[in-house]
Protein backbone atom coordinates (compact mmCIF):
# COMPACT_ATOMS: atom_id res chain seq x y z
CA UNK A 1 0.00 0.00 0.00
CA UNK A 2 1.02 3.56 -0.54
CA UNK A 3 -0.40 6.73 1.00
CA UNK A 4 -1.50 9.51 -1.39
CA UNK A 5 -2.48 12.99 -0.27
CA UNK A 6 -4.48 15.32 -2.44
CA UNK A 7 -7.35 17.80 -2.41
CA UNK A 8 -10.78 16.37 -3.16
CA UNK A 9 -13.55 18.88 -3.73
CA UNK A 10 -11.74 21.48 -1.66
CA UNK A 11 -10.86 19.21 1.27
CA UNK A 12 -7.49 17.65 2.08
CA UNK A 13 -7.63 13.86 1.76
CA UNK A 14 -5.10 11.18 2.68
CA UNK A 15 -5.81 7.69 1.44
CA UNK A 16 -3.94 4.37 1.32
CA UNK A 17 -4.02 2.79 -2.14
CA UNK A 18 -2.55 -0.24 -3.86
CA UNK A 19 0.54 0.54 -5.92
CA UNK A 20 -1.19 -0.17 -9.23
CA UNK A 21 -4.66 1.03 -8.21
CA UNK A 22 -6.71 3.07 -10.65
CA UNK A 23 -7.90 6.38 -9.26
CA UNK A 24 -11.40 5.56 -10.49
CA UNK A 25 -11.52 2.68 -7.98
CA UNK A 26 -10.00 4.82 -5.21
CA UNK A 27 -12.80 7.34 -5.67
CA UNK A 28 -15.62 4.83 -5.91
CA UNK A 29 -14.55 2.15 -3.45
CA UNK A 30 -12.42 3.93 -0.85
CA UNK A 31 -13.99 7.41 -0.88
CA UNK A 32 -17.58 6.51 -1.89
CA UNK A 33 -17.63 9.02 -4.73
CA UNK A 34 -19.92 6.93 -6.93
CA UNK A 35 -20.85 9.84 -9.22
CA UNK A 36 -17.67 8.94 -11.12
CA UNK A 37 -18.81 6.04 -13.30
CA UNK A 38 -16.97 3.12 -14.81
CA UNK A 39 -18.20 2.82 -18.39
CA UNK A 40 -15.76 1.43 -20.93
CA UNK A 41 -12.73 1.39 -18.64
CA UNK A 42 -10.37 2.22 -21.53
CA UNK A 43 -10.75 5.98 -21.91
CA UNK A 44 -13.33 6.13 -24.66
CA UNK A 45 -16.73 6.86 -23.11
CA UNK A 46 -15.90 9.71 -20.70
CA UNK A 47 -18.24 8.71 -17.86
CA UNK A 48 -15.29 8.55 -15.42
CA UNK A 49 -14.23 12.14 -16.18
CA UNK A 50 -12.86 14.09 -13.21
CA UNK A 51 -11.11 17.45 -13.06
CA UNK A 52 -7.45 17.46 -12.06
CA UNK A 53 -6.27 21.04 -11.55
CA UNK A 54 -9.52 21.99 -13.32
CA UNK A 55 -8.68 20.05 -16.53
CA UNK A 56 -10.86 17.07 -17.55
CA UNK A 57 -9.14 13.68 -17.37
CA UNK A 58 -10.24 10.08 -17.41
CA UNK A 59 -10.09 8.53 -13.93
CA UNK A 60 -10.07 5.04 -15.52
CA UNK A 61 -6.64 5.73 -17.06
CA UNK A 62 -5.25 7.60 -14.05
CA UNK A 63 -3.15 5.68 -11.56
CA UNK A 64 -4.03 6.69 -8.00
CA UNK A 65 -0.38 7.45 -7.21
CA UNK A 66 -0.45 10.17 -9.86
CA UNK A 67 -2.85 12.48 -7.99
CA UNK A 68 -0.38 13.12 -5.15
CA UNK A 69 -0.55 16.84 -4.35
CA UNK A 70 -3.12 17.59 -7.04
CA UNK A 71 -6.51 19.29 -6.89
CA UNK A 72 -9.28 16.82 -7.78
CA UNK A 73 -12.89 17.78 -8.41
CA UNK A 74 -15.94 15.61 -8.98
CA UNK A 75 -19.54 16.70 -9.54
CA UNK A 76 -20.01 17.01 -5.75
CA UNK A 77 -17.90 20.18 -6.01
CA UNK A 78 -20.60 21.90 -8.07
CA UNK A 79 -23.52 21.69 -5.71
CA UNK A 80 -25.95 19.49 -3.80
CA UNK A 81 -29.70 18.94 -3.82
CA UNK A 82 -30.32 22.12 -1.78
CA UNK A 83 -27.94 24.44 -3.63
CA UNK A 84 -27.64 23.45 -7.24
CA UNK A 85 -25.00 24.99 -9.49
CA UNK A 86 -26.43 27.07 -12.38
CA UNK A 87 -25.19 24.36 -14.77
CA UNK A 88 -27.10 21.71 -12.82
CA UNK A 89 -30.26 23.84 -12.84
CA UNK A 90 -29.86 24.37 -16.59
CA UNK A 91 -29.44 20.61 -17.19
CA UNK A 92 -32.72 19.99 -15.33
CA UNK A 93 -34.71 22.80 -16.95
CA UNK A 94 -33.52 21.93 -20.47
CA UNK A 95 -34.18 18.21 -20.13
CA UNK A 96 -30.49 17.38 -20.52
CA UNK A 97 -30.70 14.42 -18.10
CA UNK A 98 -32.19 11.18 -19.36
CA UNK A 99 -30.74 8.04 -17.75
CA UNK A 100 -28.21 10.24 -15.94
CA UNK A 101 -25.19 7.95 -16.28
CA UNK A 102 -23.15 10.43 -18.35
CA UNK A 103 -24.44 13.52 -16.53
CA UNK A 104 -21.82 14.02 -13.74
CA UNK A 105 -19.02 13.88 -16.34
CA UNK A 106 -20.89 16.15 -18.75
CA UNK A 107 -21.35 18.72 -15.95
CA UNK A 108 -17.65 18.63 -15.05
CA UNK A 109 -16.57 19.10 -18.68
CA UNK A 110 -19.02 22.01 -18.99
CA UNK A 111 -17.79 23.54 -15.71
CA UNK A 112 -14.15 23.29 -16.85
CA UNK A 113 -15.03 24.84 -20.23
CA UNK A 114 -16.86 27.80 -18.66
CA UNK A 115 -13.94 28.46 -16.29
CA UNK A 116 -11.66 29.04 -19.30
CA UNK A 117 -14.25 30.38 -21.72
CA UNK A 118 -17.34 31.93 -20.06
CA UNK A 119 -19.18 32.46 -23.38
CA UNK A 120 -18.37 29.48 -25.62
CA UNK A 121 -19.81 29.07 -29.10
CA UNK A 122 -21.87 26.01 -29.95
CA UNK A 123 -18.83 24.58 -31.78
CA UNK A 124 -16.62 25.12 -28.74
CA UNK A 125 -19.17 23.33 -26.53
CA UNK A 126 -19.30 20.38 -28.96
CA UNK A 127 -15.50 20.23 -29.05
CA UNK A 128 -15.33 20.24 -25.23
CA UNK A 129 -17.91 17.41 -25.06
CA UNK A 130 -16.24 15.33 -27.77
CA UNK A 131 -14.66 12.96 -25.22
CA UNK A 132 -17.99 12.14 -23.54
CA UNK A 133 -20.63 9.80 -24.88
CA UNK A 134 -24.35 9.95 -24.06
CA UNK A 135 -25.96 6.65 -25.01
CA UNK A 136 -29.43 8.22 -24.69
CA UNK A 137 -28.14 10.63 -27.38
CA UNK A 138 -29.46 13.71 -25.60
CA UNK A 139 -26.64 15.86 -26.97
CA UNK A 140 -28.83 18.68 -28.26
CA UNK A 141 -30.35 19.27 -24.83
CA UNK A 142 -26.94 19.05 -23.16
CA UNK A 143 -25.48 21.66 -25.52
CA UNK A 144 -28.52 23.91 -25.04
CA UNK A 145 -28.22 23.60 -21.26
CA UNK A 146 -24.56 24.65 -21.34
CA UNK A 147 -25.37 27.54 -23.67
CA UNK A 148 -28.13 28.75 -21.36
CA UNK A 149 -25.89 28.50 -18.27
CA UNK A 150 -22.88 30.19 -19.88
CA UNK A 151 -22.14 33.54 -18.37
CA UNK A 152 -24.39 32.71 -15.43
CA UNK A 153 -21.98 30.25 -13.80
CA UNK A 154 -19.50 31.17 -11.10
Amino acid sequence: MKRVEFTLNGKAVACDVEENELFLHTLRERLSITSVKEGCGIGECGTCTILIDNEPRYACLTLAAKVEGRDVKTVEWLGNADTLHPLQRAFISRGAVQCGFCTPAMLLVAYSLLLKNPHPTCEEIKEALSGNLCRCTGYVQIIEAIESASGKGD
Binding site: E19, N20, L22, G41, I42, G43, E44, G46, T49, E55, P56, R57, Y58, C60, L61, T62, L63, A65, K66, V109, E127, A128, S130, G131, N132
Partner: protein
Protein backbone atom coordinates in the same frame (compact mmCIF):
# COMPACT_ATOMS: atom_id res chain seq x y z
CA UNK B 1 16.69 4.21 -11.64
CA UNK B 2 15.50 2.63 -14.87
CA UNK B 3 18.64 0.50 -15.15
CA UNK B 4 18.58 -0.59 -11.49
CA UNK B 5 14.96 -1.80 -11.32
CA UNK B 6 14.05 -5.07 -13.01
CA UNK B 7 10.94 -5.05 -15.21
CA UNK B 8 10.32 -1.32 -14.78
CA UNK B 9 8.21 0.67 -17.20
CA UNK B 10 8.00 4.40 -17.77
CA UNK B 11 4.60 6.05 -17.48
CA UNK B 12 3.73 9.61 -18.43
CA UNK B 13 0.10 10.15 -19.48
CA UNK B 14 -0.78 6.47 -19.07
CA UNK B 15 -3.30 6.50 -21.95
CA UNK B 16 -1.58 3.55 -23.68
CA UNK B 17 0.19 1.82 -20.78
CA UNK B 18 -2.79 1.67 -18.40
CA UNK B 19 -4.98 0.15 -21.11
CA UNK B 20 -2.30 -2.50 -21.78
CA UNK B 21 -2.02 -3.18 -18.03
CA UNK B 22 -5.78 -3.67 -17.82
CA UNK B 23 -5.33 -6.24 -20.56
CA UNK B 24 -2.83 -8.17 -18.46
CA UNK B 25 0.53 -6.51 -19.09
CA UNK B 26 2.57 -6.72 -15.86
CA UNK B 27 5.33 -4.44 -14.57
CA UNK B 28 7.07 -4.74 -11.21
CA UNK B 29 7.75 -1.00 -11.12
CA UNK B 30 6.32 2.05 -12.83
CA UNK B 31 8.39 5.21 -13.03
CA UNK B 32 6.25 8.32 -13.46
CA UNK B 33 8.09 10.90 -15.58
CA UNK B 34 5.13 13.26 -16.14
CA UNK B 35 6.34 15.70 -13.48
CA UNK B 36 10.01 15.88 -14.52
CA UNK B 37 10.70 19.50 -15.42
CA UNK B 38 13.77 18.47 -17.50
CA UNK B 39 11.58 16.75 -20.08
CA UNK B 40 8.65 19.18 -19.99
CA UNK B 41 7.95 22.43 -21.75
CA UNK B 42 8.48 23.86 -25.21
CA UNK B 43 11.58 26.03 -25.62
CA UNK B 44 13.55 27.60 -28.50
CA UNK B 45 16.90 25.97 -29.25
CA UNK B 46 20.07 27.39 -30.71
CA UNK B 47 20.20 27.07 -34.48
CA UNK B 48 16.59 28.08 -35.05
CA UNK B 49 15.01 24.84 -33.90
CA UNK B 50 12.34 24.23 -31.30
CA UNK B 51 12.68 21.74 -28.42
CA UNK B 52 9.52 20.00 -27.33
CA UNK B 53 9.82 18.11 -24.04
CA UNK B 54 8.76 14.47 -24.26
CA UNK B 55 6.33 15.03 -21.36
CA UNK B 56 4.52 17.87 -23.17
CA UNK B 57 0.89 16.82 -23.62
CA UNK B 58 -0.91 16.98 -26.94
CA UNK B 59 -3.10 19.70 -25.43
CA UNK B 60 -0.10 21.83 -24.43
CA UNK B 61 1.46 21.46 -27.89
CA UNK B 62 -1.79 22.29 -29.70
CA UNK B 63 -2.23 25.47 -27.60
CA UNK B 64 1.39 26.68 -27.68
CA UNK B 65 1.81 30.00 -29.51
CA UNK B 66 5.27 29.20 -30.93
CA UNK B 67 4.22 25.75 -32.15
CA UNK B 68 1.15 27.23 -33.83
CA UNK B 69 3.35 29.72 -35.68
CA UNK B 70 6.43 27.66 -36.48
CA UNK B 71 5.00 24.09 -36.57
CA UNK B 72 1.39 24.73 -37.52
CA UNK B 73 0.85 21.22 -38.90
CA UNK B 74 1.97 19.67 -35.60
CA UNK B 75 -0.35 21.94 -33.59
CA UNK B 76 -3.22 20.94 -35.85
CA UNK B 77 -2.42 17.22 -35.61
CA UNK B 78 -2.11 17.34 -31.81
CA UNK B 79 -5.48 19.13 -31.58
CA UNK B 80 -7.10 16.11 -33.29
CA UNK B 81 -5.65 13.35 -31.10
CA UNK B 82 -8.26 11.33 -29.21
CA UNK B 83 -10.50 13.53 -27.10
CA UNK B 84 -9.92 16.59 -24.87
CA UNK B 85 -9.29 14.31 -21.87
CA UNK B 86 -6.78 12.19 -23.81
CA UNK B 87 -5.03 15.36 -25.03
CA UNK B 88 -4.74 16.55 -21.41
CA UNK B 89 -3.10 13.24 -20.44
CA UNK B 90 -1.22 11.75 -23.40
CA UNK B 91 2.27 13.08 -24.13
CA UNK B 92 4.25 13.50 -27.34
CA UNK B 93 6.99 11.24 -25.97
CA UNK B 94 4.46 8.53 -25.19
CA UNK B 95 2.99 8.81 -28.67
CA UNK B 96 6.45 8.33 -30.22
CA UNK B 97 7.59 5.48 -27.98
CA UNK B 98 4.29 3.65 -28.50
CA UNK B 99 4.86 4.16 -32.27
CA UNK B 100 1.41 3.31 -33.52
CA UNK B 101 1.48 3.72 -37.31
CA UNK B 102 -1.72 5.75 -36.89
CA UNK B 103 -0.23 8.25 -34.39
CA UNK B 104 -1.26 11.73 -35.47
CA UNK B 105 1.98 13.46 -34.48
CA UNK B 106 4.25 11.36 -36.70
CA UNK B 107 3.55 12.85 -40.14
CA UNK B 108 3.98 16.52 -39.10
CA UNK B 109 7.10 15.64 -37.08
CA UNK B 110 8.61 14.07 -40.22
CA UNK B 111 7.83 17.27 -42.12
CA UNK B 112 9.78 19.16 -39.44
CA UNK B 113 12.78 16.78 -39.57
CA UNK B 114 12.29 15.74 -35.94
CA UNK B 115 15.39 14.65 -34.02
CA UNK B 116 14.90 12.69 -30.79
CA UNK B 117 17.11 13.10 -27.71
CA UNK B 118 17.40 9.92 -25.63
CA UNK B 119 19.26 9.41 -22.37
CA UNK B 120 20.41 6.43 -20.35
CA UNK B 121 22.78 6.06 -17.41
CA UNK B 122 25.48 5.08 -19.91
CA UNK B 123 25.10 8.19 -22.05
CA UNK B 124 22.93 10.21 -24.39
CA UNK B 125 22.20 9.91 -28.10
CA UNK B 126 20.15 11.63 -30.74
CA UNK B 127 18.34 9.94 -33.58
CA UNK B 128 16.11 11.10 -36.42
CA UNK B 129 12.44 10.13 -36.15
CA UNK B 130 12.79 8.30 -39.47
CA UNK B 131 15.39 5.95 -37.98
CA UNK B 132 13.80 5.74 -34.52
CA UNK B 133 10.60 4.07 -35.72
CA UNK B 134 11.43 0.74 -37.31
CA UNK B 135 7.95 -0.70 -37.77
CA UNK B 136 4.42 -0.68 -36.36
CA UNK B 137 4.82 -0.32 -32.55
CA UNK B 138 8.60 -0.85 -32.88
CA UNK B 139 11.38 1.62 -32.17
CA UNK B 140 15.10 1.57 -31.43
CA UNK B 141 14.61 2.64 -27.79
CA UNK B 142 16.56 0.53 -25.30
CA UNK B 143 15.04 -0.93 -22.11
CA UNK B 144 16.97 1.54 -19.94
CA UNK B 145 16.61 4.59 -22.18
CA UNK B 146 14.34 7.59 -21.64
CA UNK B 147 13.10 9.75 -24.50
CA UNK B 148 13.72 13.30 -23.23
CA UNK B 149 12.83 15.69 -26.01
CA UNK B 150 12.13 16.19 -29.68
CA UNK B 151 13.80 18.93 -31.68
CA UNK B 152 12.03 20.24 -34.78
CA UNK B 153 12.67 22.70 -37.62
CA UNK B 154 10.81 25.97 -37.24
CA UNK B 155 9.10 26.60 -40.55
CA UNK B 156 8.04 30.22 -40.19
CA UNK B 157 6.90 31.66 -43.50
CA UNK B 158 5.70 28.26 -44.73
CA UNK B 159 2.12 27.38 -45.46
CA UNK B 160 1.34 24.19 -43.50
CA UNK B 161 -1.43 21.70 -43.13
CA UNK B 162 -2.52 18.41 -41.65
CA UNK B 163 -5.50 16.37 -42.76
CA UNK B 164 -6.71 13.04 -41.50
CA UNK B 165 -9.45 10.65 -42.36
CA UNK B 166 -11.07 8.73 -39.52
CA UNK B 167 -14.37 6.95 -38.97
CA UNK B 168 -15.70 10.00 -37.13
CA UNK B 169 -14.32 13.42 -36.22
CA UNK B 170 -13.78 12.89 -32.50
CA UNK B 171 -12.20 9.98 -30.71
CA UNK B 172 -11.26 7.92 -33.70
CA UNK B 173 -7.97 6.51 -34.93
CA UNK B 174 -6.62 7.98 -38.16
CA UNK B 175 -7.11 5.69 -41.15
CA UNK B 176 -4.79 7.89 -43.13
CA UNK B 177 -3.22 11.27 -42.73
CA UNK B 178 -1.10 13.79 -44.64
CA UNK B 179 1.08 16.58 -43.31
CA UNK B 180 2.75 19.15 -45.51
CA UNK B 181 4.66 22.43 -45.48
CA UNK B 182 5.32 24.59 -48.50
CA UNK B 183 7.06 27.89 -49.25
CA UNK B 184 6.77 29.79 -52.51
CA UNK B 185 9.30 32.32 -53.80
CA UNK B 186 8.71 34.39 -56.94
CA UNK B 187 5.80 32.20 -58.06
CA UNK B 188 7.78 28.96 -57.71
CA UNK B 189 7.78 26.31 -55.00
CA UNK B 190 11.01 27.01 -53.13
CA UNK B 191 10.64 24.18 -50.58
CA UNK B 192 8.00 21.55 -50.01
CA UNK B 193 7.80 18.74 -47.47
CA UNK B 194 5.15 16.04 -47.43
CA UNK B 195 4.56 13.13 -45.06
CA UNK B 196 1.96 10.40 -45.30
CA UNK B 197 0.76 8.60 -42.15
CA UNK B 198 -1.35 5.50 -41.38
CA UNK B 199 -0.91 4.17 -44.92
CA UNK B 200 2.45 2.41 -44.90
CA UNK B 201 3.98 0.33 -42.05
CA UNK B 202 5.94 3.45 -41.03
CA UNK B 203 4.87 7.02 -41.89
CA UNK B 204 7.21 8.38 -44.57
CA UNK B 205 8.29 11.35 -46.70
CA UNK B 206 7.68 10.78 -50.43
CA UNK B 207 11.01 12.30 -51.43
CA UNK B 208 10.65 11.82 -55.21
CA UNK B 209 7.46 13.88 -55.26
CA UNK B 210 9.07 16.54 -53.06
CA UNK B 211 12.10 16.78 -55.38
CA UNK B 212 9.82 17.01 -58.41
CA UNK B 213 7.82 19.89 -56.92
CA UNK B 214 10.77 22.08 -55.89
CA UNK B 215 11.32 24.88 -58.41
CA UNK B 216 8.00 24.27 -60.17
CA UNK B 217 4.81 26.33 -60.25
CA UNK B 218 2.02 25.46 -57.83
CA UNK B 219 -0.57 24.65 -60.46
CA UNK B 220 -3.04 21.85 -61.23
CA UNK B 221 -1.06 19.60 -63.62
CA UNK B 222 2.13 19.87 -61.52
CA UNK B 223 0.29 18.95 -58.31
CA UNK B 224 -1.53 16.12 -60.11
CA UNK B 225 1.79 14.63 -61.28
CA UNK B 226 3.29 14.94 -57.78
CA UNK B 227 0.26 13.29 -56.19
CA UNK B 228 0.62 10.33 -58.61
CA UNK B 229 4.26 10.03 -57.57
CA UNK B 230 3.20 9.88 -53.91
CA UNK B 231 0.73 7.08 -54.72
CA UNK B 232 3.53 5.17 -56.51
CA UNK B 233 5.81 5.53 -53.50
CA UNK B 234 3.08 4.23 -51.16
CA UNK B 235 2.62 1.16 -53.41
CA UNK B 236 6.37 0.53 -53.47
CA UNK B 237 6.54 0.66 -49.66
CA UNK B 238 3.49 -1.45 -48.86
CA UNK B 239 2.87 -3.58 -51.91
CA UNK B 240 -0.76 -3.93 -52.97
CA UNK B 241 -3.20 -4.05 -50.09
CA UNK B 242 -6.95 -4.57 -50.13
CA UNK B 243 -7.47 -1.24 -48.35
CA UNK B 244 -5.68 0.63 -51.14
CA UNK B 245 -8.75 0.54 -53.39
CA UNK B 246 -10.06 3.07 -50.88
CA UNK B 247 -6.93 4.61 -49.43
CA UNK B 248 -5.01 5.57 -52.58
CA UNK B 249 -7.80 7.63 -54.20
CA UNK B 250 -8.38 9.36 -50.85
CA UNK B 251 -4.67 10.17 -50.42
CA UNK B 252 -4.61 11.54 -53.97
CA UNK B 253 -7.66 13.78 -53.41
CA UNK B 254 -6.53 14.94 -49.96
CA UNK B 255 -3.07 15.88 -51.17
CA UNK B 256 -4.33 17.52 -54.36
CA UNK B 257 -6.74 19.60 -52.29
CA UNK B 258 -4.16 20.50 -49.67
CA UNK B 259 -1.19 21.22 -51.94
CA UNK B 260 -3.29 22.86 -54.66
CA UNK B 261 -4.18 25.73 -52.38
CA UNK B 262 -6.58 28.38 -53.58
CA UNK B 263 -5.12 28.62 -57.07
CA UNK B 264 -6.12 25.08 -58.10
CA UNK B 265 -9.35 24.46 -56.26
Amino acid sequence: MLSSLPAAAIVAGGTDLVVRMRNGERHSYLIDVAGLSEIAGITPEEGGRLRIGAAATHGQIAADGTVRKACAGLALACSQVGSPQIRNMGTLGGNLVNASPAADSLAPLLVHNAMLALEATGGARTESLERFITGPYRTTIGKTELLCSVSVDRLEGYEEGYRRVAKRAAWAISRLSCAWALREEGGLIEDVRIAVGSCTPVPFRPSRAEDFLRGRRREGPVIAKAVEMVADEIREKSGLRPSFAYKLPVVRDLLAEELGGRSCS
